[in-house]
Amino acid sequence: MKEQLFNVLLVEDNLDHAELVIRSFSEHHLGNAIHHVQDGEAALDYLFHRGSFSDAATYPIPDIVLLDLRLPKVDGLEVLKQIKANKSLRLIPVVILTTSAAEIDLVKAYEDYANSYLVKPVDFDKFSRLMSDLHVYWLDWNQHV
């Protein structure tokens, strides 16, 4: 496995959860850049280089988006829709990472072309393993455009 620097966009309103993701993510892959935004509006601003995210060098287009569904302002599903509606952004794998295991969310997410749907496990070990596997699968094994 080659070591490569990846850009990850983490869209997560809960700061504690974001901390958990960032920590487990970066435990073994220190080279990755994780860009964290707290709501849907900020996520779209980041991806479209709008407002305070207009500097494309500081805020590069990510290799993967980790997207929570329940977000302030613009909902996670709306963010997903806008990503997948954009010709170049739709190439980015969007992994839904949410506390919701509701079927309606699952179906809606896949309808809007989510690439993967993951439910945050309550259990710490499982959470750590999911994060590790997620990294291995999506960033190491998975081929990016």
Binding site: D16, L20, R70, K73, T99, K120
Partner: protein, 614 residues
Amino acid sequence: MTKGVGLEAQRPFSIIVSLRLYLFLIIAVVSVIASALVLVNEAAKTKGDFETKAETSVRYLGSILELPLWDLDPATVAIIGDALFRDEDIASLRITAVRGRIFYEKSRPEKADIAKAVTIKHEGEEIGQAEVALTYRNANSRVLDFLAKMLAAMIVIVLLTIFLASRLIRVFLRDPLDYLTRVVSSYAEGRYPAGTGEFPIVEFKAFDEVLEGMASRILGQLSDMKGLNAELEESASEKDELIHDLHNSEAHYRELYDGVPIGLFRTTPDGRFVDANPPMVALLGFEDRANLDTVCLQDMYADKSDYELWKSTMDSESSLQNMEFRLRQRDGSLCWVRNRTHVVKDSEAQAIGYEGCLEDITVLKSAEAEQKKLIAELESKNAELARFTYSVSHDLKSPLITIKGFLGYLEKEAKEGNFDDFGEDLARITNAVDRMQSLLLELLELSRIGRIENEKVLISFEKIATEAASLVEGRLQERNVKVEIAHNLPSVFGDASRLREVVVNLVDNAAKFMGDQGNPRIEIDTRTDDGETVFFVRDNGIGIDPRYHKRIFGLFERLNPNTEGTGMGLTIVERIINVHGGRIWVESEGIGKGSSFCFTLPDVPVANDEYGVV
């Protein structure tokens, strides 16, 4: 004018009387003519005779008097004169001699009709003259005698003739006519002496044949008529039966027509009522069938477009079923009806009106509406519950993940002997637990609204606002926020502590989102929108993007994840207002423009001693 020959009004005419009259006249005329002829003939003969007689007489005198006159012997002349004068036909006799000496002169008083004179000569010498005048008198009286005798004979003949004629008429005319009359009468009376055959008078043979033919035809027709009559009687009895049945079914029909609980009607093409049963009359809000004469069904449609649809359907389809629309009753109230109509046509397929029924489905409709409302309510409750469950499961799980996650790190760090982040991680866990606790408390609170209610009272909103402001005094002072509560705010009817909670939440929110406003201010006041009182809590804080005006009332919704609170405040506020029957919304032109939280509350019920102003 179609006046047939022989049918003209004629005077009654009797053959016998006429016959008698004409016979009498003929005989009389013949008798008169005959008598006249005889009379004329007799008169002529008498005249001729007298001429001759007069001639003879004077000639006789001429010859016989020659000598006496020559001798101038008056005695002999007198004897001769007297002898002649004895004849009574001689009216006068004069014998004169020469120089006018009268030898003889005698006369009778009778008129002289013929006069003759002769000159008496002796050896050519005139010696005298004789004049004789005759009268018809005697001859006339003879003629008159004859006439009288003849008249008598004629009268006898006439009487005889009349008598004979009468007898003849009786025997040859009257009796046969009477016979004929009797025969015809018997036919006329319906007695048909069939096969009389022996008609005693040859001339009536033709009558007999005609009558017999007629009789046989009449008999034939009579027997036909008997058959027809029998048939007629039969059909008449059938007809009676039918009429009876018809009356029965008419009565049944009427009973049904009037008895069904559905309005039945028949109208003219322009909607005037021809017939209507009592439910129909009642449906339109009238008491009596006669009232309907003044109204037109099409004028009673509450919605003209319903009538137009009805009319166009009837025009194209000739009938319609189960069309539902509203009618305006006489008193103006509306009722829902279900209609079924068809066009009534006459025998020539001409539309002569409409016939149909109207069913009052107002109750059904309101039940339907009620049902729809209940279903909608239930659906919205269900959706709310689903959202609630979803939000709760999601948001209650979040702190658990945090707690478990950081506990895991704590354990790991403890094992590794690395305590750099220990305090921070522990704080995260404590916060998550606190958050969990407040979530649970507020969820419990939310579930209580509408379920556990305090008594509703009439209370001044100014009082509620003042109390609420004092409850958040701490935060207001901390941020130097000024609260202005309008005076003379209206009274509201509701749960005082819940309404206070609403104002507390709104004022607290306003204070929380003041941003870097240098002169933070909150106004509590009312305004009137379309006659409705709108309460509002207005601030000059950071404002809210119009995109999020709806979302902010959702459960656990927070526009900024970093602000304190569970995201349940506005959910609770909305719930309280809804439970009171009001609406709540936010008005804000956007970021930096401040925001107004507006809500309505139903009108205060009519003041009652029961509800004292608190």
